[in-house]
Symmetry: C2
Subunit: 181 residues, 2 copies
């Protein structure tokens, strides 16, 4: 099967967002960074004339989300998630503590969301955290995924652009203006 790519030349969603954030940072538009992966370091070697080498370490589960930062005085906090599903976004893509973290940030007045990429069709949506919480909180009683139709209705489609690649702050502007009403 031939892989079709559009603007993004086969980058992962994270790489695309990193490039977008770099664009925003370099122009003084927003300061958003990817958080480093948390690592449990067990053993480090300190050779005499060169840099310290980590010889044994383990991946730890992140206690927060992928990205956070500041934009127009607002605290932004979001996850990036890709799925190969066609008709829905499975909620088991989230860890409980990621949801808890987004709920806590939202409660403090932060703007929280998830950027979801349907990788087979290269479609990207910004989904406000409220939508995620609504389905998450009912996942044992009702369905364990968010239908794509809901994501299309309650979320925001993001068109790939050249600069920046994923102009998600346009949608954040909309969320901010809705808040101020």
């Amino acid at each position: 099967t031939k892989k079709v790519n559009y603007g993004n030349r086969g980058m992962s969603l994270e790489q695309e967002i990193n490039k977008t954030n770099q664009y925003y940072r370099e122009r003084g538009i927003a300061v958003i960074h990817k958080k480093p992966i948390p690592i449990q370091i067990v053993n480090v070697d300190y050779p005499k004339r060169s840099a310290a080498v980590i010889k044994e370490a383990y991946f730890r589960q992140a206690s927060t989300t992928d990205y956070n930062g500041v934009y127009k005085s607002h605290y932004l906090d979001f996850e990036a998630k890709e799925t190969k599903n066609k008709t829905s976004f499975p909620l088991n893509n989230f860890h409980e503590h990621q949801i808890d973290h987004m709920k806590a940030c939202q409660q403090q007045g932060g703007i929280c969301f998830t950027i979801i990429k349907f990788s087979l069709t290269q479609e990207i949506y910004l989904v406000p955290a409220e939508i995620i919480f609504e389905y998450w909180d009912r996942r044992f009683k009702e369905r364990k995924s968010i239908p794509k139709s809901i994501i299309q209705e309650a979320g925001y489609f993001i068109n790939y652009k050249i600069q920046p690649l994923i102009p998600y702050l346009n949608i954040v502007d909309h969320l901010i203006s809705q808040r101020q009403k």
Copy 2:
């Protein structure tokens, strides 16, 4: 020489702040986290029945500060620094990109500062980023450190408490109310 400790029982400043942030998070007061140390992973082993082991990795220089998060709708961003100096805080404790990051965050409306601990006397001060910038920008022309007297005048002394250990959000409240004037 006998080591004198007060409230903190020999914890490092980072440990003290981590405990403080945990207190704030658990009570829904603020969501502030320490960012993980950035690591360049070179070689990972995937044993059959157990967790992946990082076999070779290197420390990378952080491109941001130690802590960030959200409090009363405000974006907070800060560094924690300890010094054994008695009369001043040497500016070479900062990397240029940490200063650049704080400047960029401040420009976006974030609240940026450094928590400085004079470890010999166990004194802690919250120093607003503007003070740091002022001395940093003149470090080649004038002195390469911030006098402790300036830190005492323009910064804010933080008294150790039992809960939370370093109640720095009280001072952030003050900074917020000053802004709103």
